[in-house]
Amino acid sequence: MPAATASIISESRGLVVTVTGVLTADGVAAVWPVLDKIAAADGDVLVRAGEVTACDSTGAVFLRELERVTVSGGRRFQLDGLRAEFARTLELFPLDAIVPPPPTPRRQPGLIVTVGEKTCEIVADLRNQVVFLGQLTVALWQVLRRPRQLHWKKILQIFHTAAVDGLPIVGLISLLTGLIISSQSVGPLRAYGADIHVIYLVALIMFRELGPIMTAILVAGRTGSAFAAEIGTMKVNEELDALKTMGLDPVRFLVVERVIAGCWALPLLTVYAMLLGVGASFIVMLSGGYSLPALYAELTDYCTVSDVVEGLLKACFFGVLVTGVGCLRGIQTRAGAAAVGAATTRAVVSSIVLIIASDCVFTLISTTLRDAASLPF
């Protein structure tokens, strides 16, 4: 038995609609279909509501909708017998209050417009990055001239969360990479009797490329994203605006410390990654029956300090890049909680793209230099 009922009788003067029961959300849901019938029929409408036993604002909306459907067809509407207390409820909701305003049409741009807008966005974004780089350089320069102004405690704290707390995951991935490359390359190299060179191979890869790159990607995921989310939330809460009106530059105040912490954290993490990667390779070779002195000689004969230095230079650069991009994306956050999520995603994605792109440039430069100095590889 539904909470409310509505029946229609056709009389000579028009339609008589009898509504009974409890006109709250459940009841209204049951009687709502009667509106369609009234809209489809002809003639004036008389609603008998004497047996309505309860009527909240949803019920009032239903009664008003009855009226609207009738009146909009140019017919007359009459409501009979509604208890005084419910009539007062009805007065709270005038006829025009229940009509939803027409939705504002959302513009659907065509293909060309979309392509154009996206291009403009990309160009504007590039421009923003250059501007940001400029602001960051200026801020860093100002700070380096007066290092006392820096909050070293805060930097240490950021360094701790970025570097020390990141040790386990960086260690795990480097160990795994070392193990995989060594165990997979031993076989193919043995075919040429060159299996001892596995150490050389892994060391070169870890020192020059994978050590810095993997660490940077991990830091982008762990720390860059955290910076973007933190600064993004500050932006949403108008905290950045507050800084600006206090005459404080957000870049100086929020970004510089993070970038300084980042450009120390990443090289140190990278050293750790290099050690563990090469260490893993040693483990594989030792368990394959090679002697430790032979392996060590292999490493020192072929690898030079310049390989490690190259990796560390890269790491330093990636450190600035990853933390800088994280902060930039945070600052660029638009309004709302979803925007913070978008900023985080953009921070990680742009970081990874920029890491790879700049790594290509680095590699190009280092091979050219090696060629010029006629070094072997």
């Binding site: 459940d26 509106l35 949803t58 709270l92 229940i98 305003p101 309004a335």
Partner: protein, 263 residues
């Protein structure tokens, strides 16, 4: 105006609330009667929002209990808890609209979740609630595109969506201009008189307190509890202590050390 024989709709017994070890409220007891407009007053930071969070079950009191409609809300099982929540509508101090949804979607969300109304009915109900708070024209805006006062009004519309028996409003008129604020007060009075909705309101606006409140309680941070109960006019004319007096007469507290003495 209330009938003392009737069961109170909210009854708070010996409630103590603390953050960590620091008690904000201690041994607070009071009752709210059905259909009345009940106002919670007090200086900033005295625990009004905390009390409200305890009443709506968002914050577990360290001791004591909250009864809603005769059922113990503080110690309710999941089913009872869910049932009692349906009787409650809340507007938070910050509005707390969902940022990814338009105003009308925000108001519609509880209808979608809890009623079987057809789409056209939901649309009409949403429109009626938005008209009630004067936000018809902002139906399709996102919260980020609203002013502070519009956010408040949208949040009130959302709190009213399911026709709750009790509506909690945390500082509804903060950020509203006097005209809109007076309109809102009238809407609250209408809803209370015509629909029998009970309102529990945290506010500082003296003007609204006099027009709105059937009864009020005043909290104080030092006392960690209620320092006065009664009708606003009573409290104004016969303040039981200096704190209440300075609040209702907008005077600085003369006994407070370090403050300039009035000449």
């Amino acid at each position: 105006m209330h009938n003392p024989n009737r069961q109170p709709i909210i009854s708070v017994r010996d409630l103590t609330a603390q953050y960590g070890d620091r008690a904000v409220l201690e041994h607070v007891s009071f009752e709210v009667h059905r259909g009345e407009i009940f106002v919670i007053l007090g200086g900033s930071g005295c625990g009004k929002s905390t009390l409200m969070k305890c009443l709506i079950g968002l914050y577990q009191p360290a001791a004591g209990s909250v009864f809603i409609d005769g059922e113990n809300f503080s110690a309710a099982d999941a089913d009872t808890h869910a049932r009692l929540l349906r009787k409650i509508g809340v507007m938070y101090q910050s509005g707390a609209l969902f940022g990814s949804m338009t105003v009308q979607e925000n108001v519609r969300l509880p209808l979608d979740e809890y009623t079987a109304l057809p789409t056209a009915a939901k649309r009409a109900v949403v429109a009626s609630k938005l008209a009630l708070v004067g936000l018809r024209d902002a139906s399709f805006k996102l919260p980020a595109e609203l002013s502070g006062g519009m956010i408040k009004r949208a949040a009130i519309a959302r709190a009213l969506a399911l026709n709750p028996a009790i509506v909690f409003l945390d500082e509804p008129s903060a950020g509203l201009d006097p005209v809109t604020s007076a309109d809102l007060d009238q809407t609250i009075i209408d809803l209370s008189r015509d629909l029998g909705v009970t309102f529990v309101i945290v506010t500082h606006e003296l003007a609204s307190i006099y027009t709105l409140a059937d009864r009020c309680i005043m909290l104080d941070a030092g006392a960690k509890g209620i320092i006065a109960t009664g009708r606003p006019a009573e409290l104004r004319d016969r303040p039981p202590n200096d704190l209440v007096k300075s609040f209702f007469h907008r005077q600085p507290l003369t006994t407070q050390p370090g403050l300039r003495q009035p000449s």
